[in-house]
């Protein structure tokens, strides 16, 4: 690997990819289906999503493994297929990058879906064990770095990083999901971006940020707080805004170009890597590519 994520982040604003789940639904994934099973059932469709993002200008594609930890897979009766599904996903992403001739592969890791007390009964050991298994499977197949996303509990994200660090020195990017409250932005558990980012960087995250939960407008509003909290490159991946109903159908109030303009504004305010979360597709990423290309170099 000539240039990893750390070097790329120093060099330029990195364009990540957009939503995977909604793109797979557009390709026929049944509502309620297990997204990660498609890595073995319909690998060509997963690969097509990666390729569409690379073509739209993404510098990074994320493996289709957001819910591929054994605790989340167990809810689809696939808890014993962790290794197979993660390895297949890493292979598919690598093939897409190789055929496009550019791009990095990020091994995507999402939360277990199980909370620790008092909210739930999960233990740090339970988390650690499944994150080690998942990250190891991804690393064995060859990802360029790990991307933790959508964690709503700082402690679970911290455990995931320490789990990876028991066997791998690959770079780790860590994004939490924050809600906009009257007093500012907080995780569901009540942690501020300042506390969260400090903890994640101390554990060795090379980039930290916010994804999901809010649209680009709210994310833009959070930028000052996020930027001040991050001592390493800041990742910003909002959802595709809030939709409205027209003729009985859900349509995004926010078009791809408006999303792109707002996300580009977060770059002006200091975001170092940007992309889209739920509801964004290749059109959003292509629009964002064109905004980034029009920006003066930093």
């Amino acid at each position: 690997m000539s240039c990893g994520i750390v070097e790329l982040l120093e060099e330029k604003v990195v364009l990540l990819d957009g939503g995977m789940g909604s793109s797979l639904i557009a390709l026929g994934l049944e509502a309620g289906g297990c997204t990660e099973l498609w890595n073995v059932e319909f690998p060509e469709r997963v690969r097509a999503v990666h390729e569409s993002y690379l073509k739209a200008g993404s510098d990074v594609v994320q493996t289709n493994t957001f819910g591929a930890n054994s605790l989340a897979l167990a809810r689809h009766g696939a808890g014993d297929r962790l290794g197979e599904l993660n390895r297949a996903a890493a292979r598919i992403a690598r093939e897409a990058v190789d055929s496009a001739g550019h791009g990095l592969v990020a091994g995507n890791i999402g939360p277990s879906g199980l909370f620790r007390p008092p909210v739930g009964t999960a233990s740090p050991d339970e988390w650690r064990s499944t994150f080690v298994d998942q990250a190891r499977a991804l690393a064995e197949e060859g990802v360029d770095y790990f991307s933790l996303e959508t964690f709503s509990d700082l402690e679970e994200a911290r455990v995931a990083i320490t789990a990876i660090r028991t066997f791998s020195e690959l770079p780790i990017s860590a994004c939490l999901t924050f809600d906009r409250k009257k007093r500012g932005f907080f995780t569901l558990m009540g942690d501020t971006p300042a506390k969260a980012f400090e903890t994640l960087v101390a554990e060795g995250a090379c980039a930290v940020g916010a994804n999901c939960s809010v649209g680009s407008g709210d994310m833009l509003a959070a930028m000052t707080e996020l930027r001040e909290a991050a001592s390493v490159p800041l990742v910003v991946k909002p959802n595709a805004g809030l939709p409205r109903i027209a003729d009985g159908r859900a349509v995004y109030a926010q078009a791809a170009d408006e999303f792109a303009a707002e996300v580009a504004a977060t770059v002006s305010l200091g975001a170092g890597a940007v992309g889209g979360c739920c509801g964004t597709d290749r059109d959003f990423i292509a629009a964002l590519r064109s905004e980034l290309d029009d920006m003066p170099p930093r």
């Binding site: 909604s22 509502a31 309620g32 008092p118 907080f186 569901l188 558990m189 009540g190 109903i245």
Partner: protein, 218 residues
């Protein structure tokens, strides 16, 4: 201890999420022959309403909310048998069925709704996330809830709500259940268009909507 003092301590126990203390204060109320309805209205329930308000304000977060709700449930578990003994109906029979739409794994909002409803005395059956249309309809037929609450965080999954309502109509079950829908992308107008009975913007709103639909006072 006079009853007003007791109510204050009961409310505070919920606010502090102290389940053991809440249980002790519920027992104390029973033993001293206090008016248990007042203990709920001016004591425990006052506390859980305040927890809900602090959550809305962004002063309390999920751990505080859950601890408050757990303390509330623990206190109600002591008081409920006493109410039944006295022939006072509690909210049994006010069963609420909840779930997140098929294809949608965002269930935190829905879980909050379940927590708030349970803390306020409703019997909640939580079907979880990623619930198929058929599973919703089957559960309505089998569990005969008074209210069905459906959640979605994605524009791609919110149409499932309308499909479930349509299925309920086809099976002649629609008239048997009131329907509340909620979730970030939803609106009043969407709820109306798909034929739901109410829209709830958040967990406290959902509590109000459920109460209104089945005619229970706060």
């Amino acid at each position: 201890m006079d009853e007003r003092n007791l109510h204050e301590r009961q409310s505070q126990a919920i606010l502090d999420g102290e389940a053991e203390l809440a249980v002790e204060l519920a027992r104390q109320a029973v033993e001293m022959g206090a008016n248990l309805g007042d203990c709920v209205d001016h004591g425990f329930a006052k506390g859980i309403r305040e927890v809900g308000r602090l959550w809305e304000e962004g002063e309390y977060f999920l751990p505080e909310l859950v601890q408050g709700a757990d303390a509330m449930k623990a206190a109600m578990a002591i008081l409920r048998p006493e109410f039944l003994k006295d022939g006072i109906e509690d909210r049994q029979g006010s069963r609420v069925l909840l779930g997140t739409a098929a294809g949608d794994i965002h269930d935190i909002g829905k879980t909050l709704v379940a927590t708030i409803l349970e803390a306020n005395g409703f019997e909640v059956v939580d079907l979880g996330k990623d619930v198929s249309n058929e599973a919703f309809v089957t559960a309505v037929a089998e569990l005969t809830p008074a209210v069905l609450g459906m959640s979605a965080l994605l524009t791609t999954t919110m149409p499932r709500h309308g499909e479930v309502i349509e299925l309920l109509r086809e099976r002649n079950l629609r008239e048997d259940v009131k329907i509340v829908v909620g979730g970030a992308p939803l609106t009043h107008r969407f709820a109306e268009e798909i034929g739901a009975d109410a829209y709830a913007a958040n967990a406290m709103d959902a509590l109000g909507a459920v109460r209104k639909l089945i005619g229970v006072k706060a």
